[in-house]
């Protein structure tokens, strides 16, 4: 399993992690997990950002005289140390022992816990039940929740043997969850059709 970052802020429904590699956050909508004691907590990556490590100080443009973008970092190697990439994840479930739950865990993750990217097998196992969808559908977050749902489902679909069947079934679940919100449903469905 692939360790990608470390938690720097956590609540019951959400956590923020800093990536070990600058500019290498897990993909938007992918499934990550972390551990809190015996409990594994699953999250869906809901956004990422690269900023200066010192709040309030913004980098300045440096490339006017360089031919390639990479040359900027090569010319000032300390630059990379002044930047950081963070990502947010919405908690969508947890696991106690063998039991997978598609609802929020009893306690939030701990700061400094490692965050791992789930492999396709785990993604497939987690997305066998669509119960986590209601968490996403009702999330009020930064950016568009519907974009997130679509990204998450595209991701999950790739982990299944027959992505189309998966998408149809999950689409049906969405149609029920979204009731009369046809325009939202349309938005998401257009983003997940192959």
């Amino acid at each position: 399993m692939f360790k990608i970052g470390e938690i720097i802020e956590a609540s019951t429904g959400e956590f923020v992690a800093q990536c070990y590699e600058l500019h290498q956050p897990p993909p938007f909508g992918s499934l990550v997990k972390t551990r809190e004691g015996e409990v594994e907590i699953y999250g869906v990556v809901s956004g990422a950002a690269t900023t200066s490590i010192e709040p309030g100080r913004r980098p300045i443009a440096r490339g006017r005289d360089e031919a390639e973008e990479e040359d900027i970092y090569r010319a000032s190697p300390q630059l990379a140390k002044l930047l950081r990439t963070d990502f947010n994840a919405l908690v969508v479930g947890h696991r106690e022992g063998e039991r997978l739950h598609h609802y929020l865990p009893p306690r939030p993750a701990r700061v400094h816990s490692f965050v791992y990217l789930c492999d396709p097998e785990e993604v497939a196992r987690f997305s066998q039940s669509f119960d986590f969808l209601s968490i996403l559908v009702n999330a009020r977050g930064q950016g568009s929740v519907d974009e997130l749902i679509a990204a998450c489902l595209r991701h999950a679909a790739q982990a299944h043997q027959d992505p189309r069947t998966f998408l149809i079934k999950v689409g049906k679940e969405l149609a029920v969850l979204l009731g009369g919100e046809t325009s939202r449903l349309n938005t998401i469905l257009r983003r997940i059709r192959e």
């Binding site: 497939a124 196992r125 066998q128 039940s129 669509f130 982990a159 299944h160 043997q161 027959d162 189309r164 069947t165 998966f166 998408l167 149809i168 079934k169 689409g171 049906k172 679940e173 969405l174 149609a175 029920v176 979204l178 009731g179 009369g180 046809t182 325009s183 449903l185 349309n186 469905l189 257009r190 059709r193 192959e194």
Partner: protein, 548 residues
């Protein structure tokens, strides 16, 4: 491998949906699961409904489209996209089906012994509805044993539906359907069922000569009829010897009817087909008094010229016009070559002899396919035969001897005999109404059941109906059926041929069947036909077995 686990409930074999509302009298509303497409559902199919302690068995009678939220109709989803269309089907929009529960059984030992019972309650909310399995259907209709008659297969199933020939003949029965839907093919099968299981003797008035020797299919192919299949059990009587000879029918008896056999009542039955006035219908009774019972028709037809008729009118106190018109109309009988001044043999006697020997009689009309000949002959013979049956039956009851074998009389164009205007007077109306008091019942075949008297319709025990599209015909066939409005939908959706809705006495519950195939060598074989060469072989084998 992962896909299997996807939303387990939707993968359950045969699951259609859940009960959401309903009542015992009006039936149940079932919401289809999102994985079930309305297009896969057909009315007439069976479902089972599982409640906590019992299982219900019913028929789908309607399919409806519905939406979770009426706003959806205002901003419909983008279904031009096939993916979105597939997602939306069954969720935002979903299908509902209407189910009429008919039978129920419990899981305990007593219920198992009792078998299916009529429903007295409905399953609970959210009970799961499934397509009925073949075992479920067999449980209701019974397993068909080797020598037992079956009529067809339920929709989308390969099992056989038994129709009990003993029950069929206990009361009158009817085959209905618009033209070309398979009435004749069905009736032939029913007759074979009765013959094979020997539950009654048959007398068939075969208007179009398609039951006795040979019939044709819509494609013009010849199909075997009863005598070819069961030569030892069928006698073909012909009214039209010439036609029979041309068609190479092996005829057992040529029927002649004497003028002296025709009674005024027989003319009365022709009132409608000959378009007689009320006075003209009554005139033969006076003629009979004048000429003598057995001489009146011959005498009347022998009159020549206007003067003789006027003279007779004067002496009878009849209107000249009445007699003149009666005479003109009766001229039509002269065209019927089987009518002769005096018959050489007595067809009624012959028919009874055959029937008594357990041989079924088919009376072919040959070229006489017009309704006058049919109504005249069928009425005349049936009236006499019924009288004899009644006498025998009364004697049997009085003297405690064996009753006559049950007799089934088959007629086509039944509304001509059983219309509200004549049903109270004709022998056929009497037979239908008195049920099986004298061991005689009818098998009526008709394409216009609305023309049949309502009371007669209500006495018909087993109704087998192919597609009907006239509202009044549908109404009349379903008179007195519980769940009538539901069955209307089923009836109107039958295929245009070889499908039928059967309900009543001879089946445990209403059933839509695809009528079993008739006309292929295999079908004859399954119906018990043996080629001559096979029969010979079988006989030889028996000899061999016998002598070693």
């Amino acid at each position: 491998m992962m896909e299997k686990g996807l939303h387990n409930q939707f993968w359950e074999q045969g699951r259609l949906g859940i009960v959401v509302s309903g009542s015992l009298t009006k039936g149940l509303e079932v919401k289809l699961d999102s994985a079930t497409s309305v297009e896969d559902i057909a009315v007439g199919r069976y479902v089972t409904i599982e409640s906590e302690r019992r299982r219900f068995f019913g028929m789908i009678t309607d399919v409806t489209l519905d939406a979770i939220d009426p706003r959806l109709m205002v901003t419909p989803p983008d279904v031009s996209d096939p993916f979105i269309a597939e997602v939306v089907a069954g969720t935002s929009t979903f299908g509902r089906v209407h189910v009429l529960p008919e039978l129920t059984w419990g899981g305990d030992a007593i219920s198992l012994l009792e078998g299916p019972q009529p429903v007295k309650t409905v399953p609970a909310h959210f009970s799961v509805v499934r397509e009925a399995s073949e075992q479920d259907v067999e449980r209701v209709f019974g397993q068909v044993e080797e020598k037992q008659f079956w009529i067809g297969t339920p929709l989308d199933m390969e099992i056989k539906v038994r129709l009990d020939p003993a029950k069929l003949v206990e009361r009158s029965s009817g085959v209905f359907g618009k033209t070309g839907t398979g009435k004749t093919f069905l009736a032939r099968l029913l007759l074979i069922g009765i013959i094979q299981e020997g539950t009654a003797a048959n007398l068939v008035f075969d208007m179009h000569s398609e039951y006795g020797w040979e019939g044709t299919s819509a494609e013009g192919r010849k199909v075997k009829a009863l005598k070819q299949l069961f030569p030892s059990k069928i006698a073909v009587f012909a009214l039209d010897e010439e036609s029979a000879r041309r068609r190479k029918v092996s005829t057992d008896f040529v029927v002649e009817i004497g003028y002296d056999d025709i009674e005024p009542e027989d003319i009365e039955m022709l009132g409608e087909t000959l378009n007689l006035t009320e006075a003209a219908v009554q005139a033969p009774y006076r003629l009979a008094r004048h000429f003598g019972d057995r001489k009146w028709l011959e005498g009347f037809l022998a009159l020549e010229g206007r003067e003789q008729i006027n003279e007779l009118a004067l002496s009878l106190g009849e209107h000249e016009a009445t007699l003149a018109s009666l005479r003109r109309r009766l001229e039509a009988l002269r065209r019927l070559r089987f009518l002769v001044p005096h018959a050489r043999d007595n067809p009624i006697q012959r028919i009874l002899e055959y029937l008594d020997r357990g041989i079924n009689v088919v009376l072919e009309f040959g070229r006489y396919t017009d309704i006058t000949a049919y109504v005249l002959v069928a009425n005349l013979l049936t009236r006499r035969i019924h009288t004899l049956y009644r006498e025998r039956m009364e004697r049997a009851m009085g003297e405690d001897i064996a009753k006559p074998r049950p007799l089934v009389i088959t007629i086509e164009e039944a509304h001509k005999f059983l219309s509200p205007q004549v049903a109270t007077q004709t022998i056929f109306g009497t037979i239908a109404r008195e049920m099986r008091k004298y061991n005689v019942t009818l098998l009526v075949i008709d394409q216009r059941p609305s023309g049949i008297d309502e009371e007669v319709m209500s006495q018909i025990g087993t109704k087998i109906t192919c597609l009907l599209d006239n509202e009044r015909d549908i109404e009349s066939v379903l008179t007195g059926v519980s769940g009538k409005s539901e069955f209307k939908a089923v009836l109107a959706k039958l295929e245009t041929r070889q499908q039928a809705l059967i309900f009543g006495h001879a089946v445990p519950m209403p059933v839509v069947v695809r009528t079993r195939e008739y006309g292929s060598p295999q079908s004859y074989k399954e119906l018990g036909f043996r080629e001559a060469i096979e029969l010979k072989k079988e006989a030889e084998k028996e000899m061999e077995d016998l002598w070693g």
